[in-house]
Symmetry: D2
Amino acid sequence: MSGIRVGIAGVTGYGGQELLRLAARHPQVEVTAAMASSARDGERALPSLTGVWSGDITPLSVADLTRSVDAVFLALPEAASAELVPELVARGARVFDLSGAFRLRSAAARARWYPKTPELETPILYGLTERCRAALPDARVVSCPGCYPTSALLALQPLAEAGVIEGDVVIDAKSGISGAGKTPSEKTHFSERHGSVAAYGVLAHRHAAEMEQQLERAVTFVPHLVPLDRGILATIYVRVRPGTTEAAVAGLFEQAYGDAPLVRLRHAALPDIRQVAYTNFCDIGWKLDADSGRMVLVSCLDNLGKGAAGQALQNLNVAFGLEEQAGLL
Amino acid sequence: MSGIRVGIAGVTGYGGQELLRLAARHPQVEVTAAMASSARDGERALPSLTGVWSGDITPLSVADLTRSVDAVFLALPEAASAELVPELVARGARVFDLSGAFRLRSAAARARWYPKTPELETPILYGLTERCRAALPDARVVSCPGCYPTSALLALQPLAEAGVIEGDVVIDAKSGISGAGKTPSEKTHFSERHGSVAAYGVLAHRHAAEMEQQLERAVTFVPHLVPLDRGILATIYVRVRPGTTEAAVAGLFEQAYGDAPLVRLRHAALPDIRQVAYTNFCDIGWKLDADSGRMVLVSCLDNLGKGAAGQALQNLNVAFGLEEQAGLL
Amino acid sequence: MSGIRVGIAGVTGYGGQELLRLAARHPQVEVTAAMASSARDGERALPSLTGVWSGDITPLSVADLTRSVDAVFLALPEAASAELVPELVARGARVFDLSGAFRLRSAAARARWYPKTPELETPILYGLTERCRAALPDARVVSCPGCYPTSALLALQPLAEAGVIEGDVVIDAKSGISGAGKTPSEKTHFSERHGSVAAYGVLAHRHAAEMEQQLERAVTFVPHLVPLDRGILATIYVRVRPGTTEAAVAGLFEQAYGDAPLVRLRHAALPDIRQVAYTNFCDIGWKLDADSGRMVLVSCLDNLGKGAAGQALQNLNVAFGLEEQAGLL
Amino acid sequence: MSGIRVGIAGVTGYGGQELLRLAARHPQVEVTAAMASSARDGERALPSLTGVWSGDITPLSVADLTRSVDAVFLALPEAASAELVPELVARGARVFDLSGAFRLRSAAARARWYPKTPELETPILYGLTERCRAALPDARVVSCPGCYPTSALLALQPLAEAGVIEGDVVIDAKSGISGAGKTPSEKTHFSERHGSVAAYGVLAHRHAAEMEQQLERAVTFVPHLVPLDRGILATIYVRVRPGTTEAAVAGLFEQAYGDAPLVRLRHAALPDIRQVAYTNFCDIGWKLDADSGRMVLVSCLDNLGKGAAGQALQNLNVAFGLEEQAGLL
């Protein structure tokens, strides 16, 4: 078998495991290395992947990770990415980083939310695929957006760039609990989450900084944990410029995503998580009250798919000239 | 046993069944009649209530319902309440109606959302207990608020009345699925809801009219179905008047609910559904960014408890001079 | 207020918290002390109990726990109970222990499953309420059965004692995850349990020993974790002696539980968890294929209610001459 | 694109939709027709499949279904399959039927459980892939097993055929609720199922007949609904012939499935639903108490994957000489 050769670090977390699963069955990708999150991790098995991925899970090793590969994926905690990316760049690797370490451009914002992240000389591409396709083939470091920003930005950017939005932007997001990762804690304890909904990180979430950077405007963002495993639904509240019509809004979305294979426009048939879970689609719907100018958008995706592993692979597809949705349907 | 004698119509629905369960074990209430939702319903058993309520469930009969009672509870579809309430009033009954039929005062709003509701000469009390205690002892017809308005209004009214809120009010509510009632449908089909979140009634929900009436201002309200059975969490986004301090906000809430036994102020420790499910509490928390004036409130309650049956019983307690929380802890 | 004065140790766990909640609202019980699980625990708040229990949660102290009380409840890890019970007995306290420490009578079984448990001179009553009512008033130490044995034994004992059962007994139990306690672990991590069912402790579970002791016969017991919070459903497979009729089986159950307020016989209408969650009922149903002698029983209860806190309180009620179901409906 | 051309009837149900999703992305399959469950159904859209399947969903038509196809899949209610299969056979189509209509060979059993099924002259292959590979290339009608029998038979047949099992066989199965289909009912109402577990069809389930036919021995089978969407876990209780060792058991399983790409042997690491949901794997684990001869097996699979659509496609793969797991990883 030949194909794009990729090494993956961090396959033992939820995002990394999903990435390995997707990459292993991708017809044009060959996984050359699947590594744990640190050099101290022993070799491991991933029972879910028996029969899908027959290779070993080895301890993290930069030398092995970059040996004979076309690209490296990092599905690591942000501190580990912050340390590793410069080393990988120095070795000439093309890097797709799933962590938040390199998402923020402002030094001040980075100091607050990702204090371990160094300055890099190499330019970093913010890898929201549908917004950066042209830049992907030449990018050396692609910082893949988080699941919350991906859902919010895909819905908001076409409107924001057209200057249609006025006033406050409220983003109320509901996330499945796999987004909180694999480490047990009270927050992820079954009995605490079953039958419950909870807001967290209110008015102080680093993903808000990421959204504000890309939108170039302030947002109020409140994430919630809802009792399901995979998926995010963002309900977005804005006001549009007086005179904005439903047709104008639809036109902006068609222009932005008319030929995007992995964004599905639902118009007034608002999407729900069920339609996107276990896929790499982002579904977007909206309702506009033209009289008052109030508009509600609903955007949803799978937090481990389009919100993490799937988008990273989608970026690889575009970067290497494959079909954008290859291995992702 | 002696006590307040009550007749209940509609005990076969989720709200009615909860009401019967609460009333049956209330130490100062005696249930004289527990009826189905219509005269055509045969007698039925409620397996969950075996051992709690030993009486019969009989077909609906106004004559029997009002025989030797101090109060009548209606847990019926709104059309049935619309028809029954005038008849009950004519017979001199004190009525606690859990449906939406008589919640809206404006004839225009009522014509839109509750077209079967007639005009009544008897005044109707909007029964949000914490806001209407003084009026309850003399009320003949108490229209108990719905679960969404109860959660939103308890959080918003102290601020709105103090003139602290400015600009748009966004209410993003997440509801358990028992709120959609007992009739099977695609919307309440397990496989459609499990692992999903969906917005519905966007920019067109009659509960928004109820909130706007009580707040005397427009709101943007979007309800969502989340995959749990009981509970509502409303996340509320407002801007406060410049200069409003955290202490001022806390003061308004303490003033409003300092002695309310069934409202719990959580301040910055935002509440979640788990703490209120299967109770009659409404928990309220909030975060204020004093610099920007942006404020997020979280209010939650059990939709069948404080959002329906529990509040109706709480109203009875106050109306008849019992301890407000009697039978509700 | 006067009443039976009780001290409770271990109110921060799920079982202890449920016990405090039930005891606090029990009309004839007064909670004199609510303590954490160890002397090193600082004082704590239990947000769910705000408005229900207004006292403090204090560090564990035997002296304070036994001060001016009629009874002491222990909702502690078994090692803590093993250490504490002898001390409490020495101080003359009446003890209701919710842990497994003193449930097994055989020294060999105890050495295997509860190695820290000492021999006690005081007799220990196995507190399955419906089977030990007469002995409760004089018992000094009541070891309350676990949730799995309670569900299985209430269904099996009437048949086993009548000699109706032949051959193998298979008990397949499905438990909500609150039964695994409050400490986060991979086993109780939301994303591992949501959408999953898993067997555990197969052919090696200490609750099997408890069942075998009470039934005086071998059983095959396999517990499973199912994705819900509260409740156990045990499906029990037996063969009955040839000639055993449905009427005979029903007669045995009526004889055993005809006047038991907290056991509900469902006959062929098999019970499910929904009917017992958040209650202190044990519901039992069964189907018999008289030709083949194969019989399936279904028994279910709330693991924190009848399976833990509720049954402990039910034992207190009987021990002190209160109505058996007082505070438990 | 060229490939095996297939027509699918019944794509609007859960099983049919999964089949269409799998077939549409199968690299060697071309879907020529995707039809609703009856001729009266108008054309429809399947929002979940937007971007995956771009064809139309048309009303059921035998003529169109068999036009230029290599195989026909029926994901229909059994009465519809009973009527359609003879007609399809007459037209010379190769049929893969997912319903139960033709699974039972005994006329008496069929009369009881599938009264509408006619006698067919064409032989019918019971399509449990791992047990019928050699016969698939020549089969004209493949009756694909149900989800419960697939999980139970894959675990039991290697032991039963080796004569290792003695005495009663108890199969306690826990199923996700998508197995109950897409039609809303009280049984599938979210609030009835959330937080609950219920046994059904006790001692009277047609899938028991299917298992007994294939095993050639009686079984006690009790299915349960558990609150999850996709997956089945069967816990199986048997006794083995004295002297049977763990090694002997493992040997039988290795012999049966050592080269099966879609059965994963877990040995003593018992599988759970999470590892098989959304896959086409059947995972099997077991524990043997060699002293007593008691043995517990756990077998699990995705009820819509290996238990329905996936296995049908796996049968197609083998029948047409493709790689067995093609399109199924």
